[in-house]
């Protein structure tokens, strides 16, 4: 627990982070950037879990454990996504999101 910083402030920060992520996911034109936006979302939830655990329910470490697993899964997700992006890059020589629009409607 950090003295002088209340739960609300941290949650406000994570919420902002979350929405930056969502915004980035929607607006970014580069697949890597989109991936990073997703990571932002995940990280905001990680902080959420840790902070809620620490501030509200410090006795049981459920939130902490959850956070570790989110990190692990996020890593797997990223690994896979990057692998697929590379594969796509080999076909199109670009990581631009508009390269993924051969299928529509």
């Amino acid at each position: 627990m950090i003295p002088g910083i209340s739960l609300h402030e941290i949650l406000a920060v994570t919420s902002v982070l979350f929405f930056i992520g969502v915004y980035g996911f929607i607006t970014r034109k580069n697949l890597i950037s989109v991936l990073i936006s997703v990571e932002l979302i995940l990280n905001s939830t990680v902080v959420n879990f840790v902070v809620i655990n620490k501030y509200l329910y410090p006795d049981i470490l459920e939130g902490m454990i959850f956070a570790i697993f989110i990190i692990a899964v996020a890593a797997a997700e990223t690994a896979l996504a990057v692998a697929i992006i590379i594969n796509l890059y080999r076909k199109t020589s670009s990581v631009d999101i508009k390269e993924t629009e051969t299928m529509k409607y």
Partner: protein
């Protein structure tokens, strides 16, 4: 000193770099000519773009690292409490590492560890 030490060191590092940069700017000589601003390529002019496509091997290892590093992250809490838990922890980590090792063996067999 509490956790703010981390912040202090962080700031100190920044100050160090920024300060030295500033100092260097103050005292260093300045001269300019076009050749100086070219990228160094053993005296030749650069050919083609520099930001080129990479061997996929780098990414492969990056991905492998990512996976194994996360596994290490799971080993950390286990290692800390291992002494207190004992048998169950040993069994579980054996399974965990067996699967991990199998993964490594698989990557090995598939040639992911080979640098061509």
């Amino acid at each position: 000193m509490g956790s703010e030490a981390i912040i202090v060191f962080f700031l100190a590092g920044i100050v160090l770099v920024a300060g030295a940069n500033f100092l260097s700017k103050l005292i260093s000589p300045k001269s300019d000519n076009p050749q100086k601003r070219e990228p160094y390529e053993s005296g030749m002019t650069t050919i083609g773009p520099t930001w080129v496509q990479f061997k996929v091997g780098y990414y492969l290892f990056a991905i492998l690292f990512l996976i194994f590093d996360v596994e290490v992250a799971f080993l950390v809490p286990w290692a800390v409490v291992f002494g207190k838990i004992g048998t169950v922890a040993l069994l579980e980590i054996l399974i965990f590492l067996a699967i991990l090792g199998l993964g490594l063996a698989y990557a090995w067999k598939k040639g992911a560890l080979k640098w061509e």
